[in-house]
């Protein structure tokens, strides 16, 4: 039988003399338990970092085969929702970009723009050989970027060609550790520092070639006059000649029908 079981505090225990006290009562220790269940002692830094690292929103960004591996994470087999990663289609809502795939000179301005559109602090994971050094394109490609860290700051590099989904998990876990170590006091230098390298090229800016009038442009209605003269026959005649050619080809069929 347990001494004092079922008794409320303040009840008189008949087994204890007045003035005596039980050193280790079997009843639950109310005050200590209530404190540990209801009060958290932490720092603002830890709390802030904990919320951020538990809800990393990666941008849906992929330019090559690496994204196939990254897309496998979205499914139930690898299930990266359990890390709190929810893919976002807009850079405004994302705070992590996993650069999956080769980045070319033509894509690079778009990538920088996406990164600059993300609310800071934003994190970058360079996934695969192409984003680290240019990978197999580093030999003689005229346009492949030799490492994405030349244009945006990279936090975690994942080697591989392409890396396994598990490797991306490893990178995410390492990134979470990095975020957990950050301090709000260092935030100032993070924002103000220009952390990536830019250089202006002496290339002249030209009008964008995509005008939205691709098939509707006037040039598609008829061949230019010079070309028609070069062909030696007007365009109408040419199309007639083509029709005749089609007729002679179909003559046998027509004969059969007749």
């Amino acid at each position: 039988m347990v001494i004092g079981a079922g008794k409320r505090p303040g009840d008189v225990n008949p087994l204890v003399n007045p003035g005596e006290r039980i050193m280790n009562p079997a009843a639950r220790t109310g005050v200590t338990q209530d404190l540990s269940e209801n009060i958290i002692l932490t720092t603002v830094d830890d709390l802030y970092n904990w919320t951020r690292l538990s809800s990393l929103f990666p941008l849906l960004y992929g330019t090559a085969c690496c994204f196939i591996e990254f897309a496998a994470l979205l499914g139930s087999r690898f299930d990266f929702d359990r890390f709190g990663l929810a893919p976002r289609a807009s850079p405004r809502q994302a705070d992590l970009i996993i650069v999956a795939g080769t980045v070319t000179m033509k894509m690079a301005p778009a990538l920088v723009r996406l990164y600059e559109q993300m609310p800071k602090p934003a994190y970058v994971i360079a996934m695969g050989a192409c984003t680290i050094t240019g990978g197999m394109f580093s030999a003689d490609s005229p346009t492949a970027l030799r490492g994405v860290d030349k244009i945006i700051p990279v936090d975690v590099y994942i080697p591989g060609c392409p890396p396994r989904p598990e490797a991306i998990f490893d990178a995410v876990i390492k990134l979470r550790k990095k975020i957990a170590n950050e301090s709000m006091q260092e935030r100032g230098e993070f924002v103000s520092t220009h952390r990536f390298y830019t250089r202006s090229h002496e290339m002249k800016t030209v009008d964008p070639i995509l005008t939205g009038k691709y098939l509707a442009s006037n040039t598609r209605e008829m061949p230019p006059k010079e070309l028609m003269q070069a062909m030696g026959i007007p365009a109408e005649k040419a199309s007639e000649a083509q029709l005749e050619g089609a007729k002679t080809k179909g003559a046998k069929v027509e004969g059969d029908n007749a």
Binding site: M105, K106, A108, I132, T133, G134, S138, D140, P142, T143, A144, L145, R146, G147, D149, K150, I151, Y197, R199, H201, M203, K204, T205, V206, D207, P208, I209, Y214, S217, T219, R220, P223, P224, E226, L227, A230, M231, G232, A235, A238, A241, Q242, E244, G245, A246, T248, K249
Partner: protein
């Protein structure tokens, strides 16, 4: 292989070692001058045409039944040599079994590689001629939208030419 074919071409024209095939014979009958090149490994006729005769030549082939431009491509015959624009044609019909194919090659001088566009005969040439323009700088006259397809719009130079030198951009330098 490209060099070999090119070297064989004049020889073939002079000594007629290469037997002209069916398509070549028909074109000769109709008075469309061309050179016959050695057939490729699968027996497809290869015809060499002067650039100024490409359009009437192509129109004749279209009338003959080659209604499908399967592939249009280009290559650089070598440093200092010509640029070559290649057209793969097929006779496409219903239930075709091993349809007739023919390949046309146009050799263009490196200084001024200009050839009329076949877009107005085969619409499939649209993007493929743009790509050849983008990579080799071949000027397809009469193409409705001859602009760079793969490279950035403001890129300079023609990357797949043998004498192309990549620019020394910071982004393109080796990463260590």
């Amino acid at each position: 292989m490209a060099d070999k074919e090119k070297e064989n071409a004049p020889e073939a024209a002079e000594s007629a070692i290469v037997e002209p095939g069916e398509v070549s014979s028909w074109l000769t009958e109709q008075g469309f001058g061309h050179e016959v090149m050695e057939k490729d490994h699968s027996g497809v006729e290869i015809l060499k045409v002067e650039p100024q005769f490409l359009l009437p030549f192509s129109t004749a082939l279209y009338a003959y039944g080659f209604n499908y431009l399967r592939c249009q491509s280009a290559y650089d015959a070598g440093p200092g040599k010509e640029l070559v624009s290649v057209y793969d044609l097929t006779k496409l019909t219903d239930d075709a079994d091993a349809p007739t194919e023919v390949r046309i090659k146009v050799f263009l001088p490196r200084e001024n590689p200009t050839v009329p566009s076949v877009y107005w005969i085969w619409k499939a040439a649209d993007w493929q001629e743009r790509e050849c323009y983008d990579m080799f700088g071949i000027n397809y006259e009469g193409h409705p939208n001859l602009k760079r397809l793969l490279m950035p719009e403001d890129w300079e130079g023609w990357p797949l030419r043998k004498d192309y030198i990549s620019p020394d951009f910071y982004e393109l330098q080796d990463a260590y």
